[in-house]
Symmetry: C2
């Protein structure tokens, strides 16, 4: 049954647009039509396509929209220039022009790549996000960060480019593998840790319902995260300041993903371990207690997420983190916690503190 | 001798920045310092580097700025993804971060690529334009269009991204090959044709002095073109309307460049022939007289530019023009002239009119 549970606006300085959170909404032409043109390129991947592509394509075609599909291989390891080029080639082959709308149908990888293609094809064409994973619904589809990876760093090439609208359809979470559901939950927990201790308590109390895919609870969690993100993006669209706090766990997480090979650790799994490391670093800096970190590890385990990173050489940790986008004039900067529910951006020039925090996870 | 002849502001909605027009200014740290950070990546090519790279790099290093160079192969045929990747690799190898400034030292190809790299590296870092050709001084360095070519279309991948400042140093025109000077003059003439018949008369009267590189006359021409462009960009940064008029001669010109192979016809040469074709099309549409076209051909010859395009099959003309960025919902749109000095954007769905206009240049 079609139902819009929630509808909120993102007031980014460059563009104002709605997020629809609901069930059975992603192929609802009555909702879609205000946000698309007469020609649509659906960018998706080979896992999502068999599940949802026909439904969306038919809804568009039945209403006189010329819709064609560009299907990419699934996985973070394909978030690269080859896939981006496949999107450009598809757009050109179908004579896409500046009025053509891209619909990104898939998870964070599809959304980030389709968004970057939209930002750069003919210097920018409109696009719509249809996130089909929990991770993309609560985080990556909102706020206009688009990117591809570079062998030397995650999301190193990209643009800030806002979508016309976001359709978070909770029904699509029914087909999500549990490992992916957990990965999305890592970002949900991240929001609680960085900015809302009440939300953390709510998550601790209701994790079983969330992991059981109770739609009312999921709708509540997606809404809460999107509201937090929208509030931050409205104030700092291009990450000059507080938006960096959304990167809690990501400096460590990106290092884990790069070191283990993109796609081996899911982004959310790496963020979960990264959040634990951010807690350990905060302990070293004297701003968090051991029992706080234990509480974070416990909720990660509740969500079936890793509560510790893999072990590798300190030089490798450092090499990856020196490419972090928060590095400023050579100085590394970490999102740390001054309390559970309160993140701060912390410059760190003494790598010994970092080594101490990472000690259990350093291969000598 | 260092001298700033003119100094004007571009009031783009997204960013306000100065254009300095002068002699001996590109390595003047007193002027540069307000527009750069503590670390600078100079992007240039293997023709410009031997002439000007050391001067700029020393001026920066002598003043405590960490400056490194990324040297690309020269030519439109290298305005592609391989060169873009070489810029990304150089930035990453030198640990460029979000505070690093890119300086584009070269002509339009260098400026467009360095600008696109700046727009997309870590989702955007600051950049400064130091255009060293007439074409880039009057046109491509101003207004924030950045791009690379795709095999199927010129400037097909890009972004609108404004520089921090533009340093148009007329001294650098002394080393410009005459063919490049002429190519730049095509864009100068384009400005006159699209919007200023007085300027057209001034160019007709003073072309000998301009082609003789009289610096006072060149300064006047560069200032006039930059003023026209700045006025248009202030009103229409992302080409929703009147900015398209700056594309006079470019739909035909891009077709010529693509058909002949990038780098064989210089961009300015193709634009010169394209402007003549725009006149012929305007004649067919009844808005221009034969003697107007003759006058345009004459000034092109004065500037040692082609006054006619190469000959190739109509299907090839069409194939290239169907990828033009002005195509909207499948309809081609051409910049035509309602008089010399007055351009209009004209949708065209009847290809027979186009075939008639191109008739002498169609290979049967």
């Amino acid at each position: 049954m079609k139902k819009v549970w929630h509808n909120l606006m993102v007031d980014a300085p460059s563009h104002r647009y709605p997020i629809y959170i609901g069930s059975g909404i992603f192929a609802d032409f009555a909702l879609l039509k205000a946000h698309i043109g007469k020609k649509v390129a659906i960018v998706t991947n080979d896992v999502v396509a068999p599940l949802y592509l026909d439904t969306l394509q038919n809804a568009l075609r039945d209403n006189g929209v010329a819709a064609f599909a560009i299907v990419l291989p699934d996985g973070e390891q394909h978030k690269n220039h080859a896939s981006l080029n496949a999107i450009y080639d598809g757009l050109l082959r179908h004579h896409a022009d500046r009025k053509t709308t891209i619909i990104a149908l898939g998870g964070g990888v599809v959304g980030d790549m389709a968004g970057f293609a939209a930002a750069t094809y003919q210097r920018g064409i409109p696009f719509v996000q249809v996130p089909t994973t929990l991770l993309s619904q609560v985080d990556s589809s909102v706020g206009g960060k688009t990117a591809i990876n570079h062998p030397l760093g995650k999301n190193m090439i990209g643009a800030f480019y806002q979508p016309q609208a976001v359709f978070a359809d909770l029904d699509t979470l029914d087909t999500l593998p549990e490992r992916e559901l957990s990965a999305g939950m890592a970002e949900v927990i991240k929001y609680a840790l960085l900015g809302d201790s009440d939300f953390l308590r709510w998550l601790e109390a209701n994790m079983a319902a969330l992991m059981g895919r109770n739609q009312a609870f999921l709708a509540q969690a997606v809404l809460h995260c999107c509201r937090m993100k929208a509030a931050i993006v409205a104030q700092d669209e291009t990450e000059q300041g507080m938006r960096a706090l959304l990167n809690l766990g990501h400096t460590f997480g990106h290092a884990i993903e790069a070191e283990m090979g993109y796609g081996n650790w899911l982004h959310g799994e790496a963020v979960a371990a990264g959040c634990v490391l951010a807690c350990l670093l905060s302990e070293r800096l004297g701003s968090l207690k051991t029992k706080d970190t234990a509480r974070v590890r416990a909720i990660m385990r509740q969500a079936k997420l890793p509560d510790a990173p893999p072990v590798f050489a300190f030089e490798r940790w450092l090499a990856h983190m020196r490419h972090d986008k928060k590095v400023e004039s050579g100085m590394m900067r970490f999102v740390t916690l001054s309390a559970l529910g309160r993140a701060v951006l912390t410059p760190l020039d003494d790598v010994r503190i970092l080594r101490d925090a990472l000690q259990p996870f350093i291969l000598d």
